[in-house]
């Protein structure tokens, strides 16, 4: 299964809006939302007829048995993540604990055990001949890279023999969820915003994506908000040998589409037209990757 991932570095540039348009245009039978910190793709598009939920367990976390704890403080001294709360007995802060097990190693009273910890929920939606894999991380949890990998694995597994291509909506940033999204991908479409912030974040996501050897294409959303910076992004792509896939104008109708749970290509609007052009430009290239 060829994976096209949609990323941006900066948040709110329109990844999910464009991803939903590409899903609709390509009629792909497999897609996923890897923005497990703030998933939104499920709010748009298809009518799902069936859904399968599964719990996501991150690393087991430390738990102190109050009956055995001698309150010696050895765990607190050894913990590098400030996850041990002083007291009698001592306690573990599950939001800070990274599951390293060092506290258990140093506890002279064997009072510390590692216990499974549900850190999120994963969902597979089925409908209209397609499968959609998504997840939501529990508030304040860490290790979302692992959850992203599982969202992708579940998608591949559920898509079975399907050998076409999958659209994968990513998260903002450049950290571990993005790295897990890029891993195994064939192409990355980067959605940039024409601002100094957008340009700075674009450079950082390109540097990150290059480490994975994926084909990189760039498009600009809300391009007419700042035509000068849009031109700078075009010139930058040319210099760096990256495919410039197109520019989408600022379009209040896009907001309307999202709020009706529809994609921008379901409406006759300027942003939808631009999305179709981007689709026409990148699809042949994706097939040749």
């Amino acid at each position: 299964m060829r994976q096209l991932v949609i990323l941006s570095g900066k948040g709110g540039t329109g990844k999910t809006t464009l991803a939903s348009a590409l899903i609709s245009l390509s009629r792909t039978r497999a897609y996923a939302d890897c923005d497990v910190d703030a998933p939104n793709l499920h709010l748009i598009g298809a009518d799902y007829t069936r859904q399968e939920d599964a719990s996501y367990y991150g690393l087991p976390l430390a738990v102190i048995d109050p009956d055995k704890c001698a309150a010696c403080g050895a765990c607190e001294q050894a913990c590098r993540f400030d996850a041990v709360i002083q007291g009698s007995p001592y306690r573990i802060n599950p939001y800070a604990c990274e599951g390293c097990k060092v506290c258990g190693l140093v506890c002279p009273a064997q009072a510390i055990a590692m216990k499974p910890h549900q850190a999120g929920t994963m969902t597979l939606y089925y409908g209209e001949g397609a499968v959609f894999s998504t997840a939501r991380l529990k508030m304040g949890s860490g290790t979302s890279g692992l959850l992203v990998s599982q969202v992708k694995n579940r998608l591949e597994h559920a898509a079975g023999e399907y050998t076409g291509f999958a659209v994968i909506d990513g998260s903002p940033g450049i950290g571990c969820p993005v790295i897990a999204t890029l891993s195994g991908a064939h192409a990355a479409l980067l959605v940039a915003e024409p601002s100094l912030s957008g340009l700075s974040d674009l450079e950082r996501i390109i540097e990150t994506a290059r480490g994975f050897g994926v084909m990189i294409a760039v498009c600009v959303n809300k391009a007419d908000i700042n035509p000068e910076i849009t031109d700078r992004i075009k010139a930058y792509c040319q210099r760096e040998g990256l495919l410039f896939a197109g520019a989408i104008p600022y379009d209040p109708l896009a907001v309307q589409a999202v709020n009706q749970g529809r994609t921008i290509v379901d409406l006759d609007c300027p942003s939808g037209k631009a999305a179709k052009e981007i689709y026409r430009k990148i699809m042949p290239l994706l097939e040749s990757v």
Binding site: S8, G11, D37, A38, P172, S195
Partner: protein, 288 residues
């Protein structure tokens, strides 16, 4: 009245205008301190262009193996919860990016073959621009987590006064870390379904940490606003509404600070500061 409150600005969804709100709030509050905790995509410095005072590397510990001492027992490999160590059959490998720096392997090694050294994953930078102390954290591309950068950033000394914390998007551990010391949380929301959905998530996070909070509706457009509906349904105070304006978008996209360019925005952000103070004050009284 001067206030020393720490205000965290967060949103769940990216691109709602956290940095725009934070930078302008800090500017309106000057003398103040602005802390950019969005280490994966730090942008506040692009607006302030501060005169840099200090630059400090953020280092994390990683193990290094002395092959002459290694007795090939593989206890470290079995212990590491992050699969950062592997035994190839001939040598012990360390995958730096996977390591969380817990120190367990070095502690466990019966042959003292593992020693920890420091590895830079980013930097913390401080500077000053027009009465605002600007503190920024930068994560190096390719690195997995910005948490150590945020921790070091928040421990970096600053002159105090009012502190504005520009948080990363999402609702993960990185955001929790950023709001830990905040007296008040400003939630920035967009007038879309996406915006409202992610507003609900950060609202839950703020409640989890018992932080008083209110909402700024940004890029407001005429017509239905799912974020406003969420605030009304949940009794969340709307602190300010900022209408979408192409000219404001252009100004901000060029890295300019609206408060400095346009008296209308100065007035708006001064009112917002006052409103935050009132709300935070009420919350403090309510809690005592």
């Amino acid at each position: 009245m001067m206030s020393d409150r720490t205000i965290a600005v967060l949103s769940g969804k990216g691109g709602t205008g956290k940095t725009f709100i934070s930078v302008n709030l800090a500017c309106a509050a000057a003398p103040a301190t602005y802390i950019d905790c969005d280490a994966e995509e730090p942008n506040g410095h692009l607006f302030f262009q501060p005169a840099i005072k200090t630059r400090e590397a953020v280092n994390v510990p990683v193990p290094r193996v002395d092959p002459a001492k290694c007795i090939e027992c593989r206890q470290c490999v079995d212990f590491c919860a992050y699969h950062a160590l592997a035994w190839t059959g001939r040598e012990l490998l360390v995958f730096d990016e996977m390591c969380h720096g817990c120190g367990g392997c070095a502690m466990l090694c019966p042959a003292q073959a593992l020693k920890e050294t420091e590895r830079a994953i980013g930097r913390v930078q401080t500077g000053e621009a027009q009465g605002v102390q600007v503190l920024s954290g930068f994560l190096n591309p390719g690195e997995a987590t910005g948490v150590p950068v945020i921790k070091q950033l928040l421990n970096t000394g600053h002159p105090g006064g009012r502190v504005i914390i520009d948080c990363p998007p999402g609702s993960s551990c990185m955001v929790s870390e950023s709001i830990q010391d905040a007296d008040y949380c400003v939630l920035v929301a967009e007038p879309t379904r996406f915006g409202a959905h992610n507003l609900a998530m950060v609202h839950e996070l703020a409640r989890l940490y018992n932080k008083p909070c209110g909402v700024v509706l940004n890029k407001a457009l005429p017509g239905d606003d799912p974020s406003r509906q969420y605030c009304q349904a949940h009794g969340l105070p709307i602190l300010a509404e900022i209408a979408f304006e192409a000219q404001l978008g252009k100004l901000t996209s060029n890295g300019m600070i609206a408060v400095k360019e346009d008296p209308r925005y100065r007035a708006l952000f001064e009112r917002l500061l006052e409103r935050i103070d009132q709300e935070a004050c009420h919350a403090a009284v309510g809690h005592s």
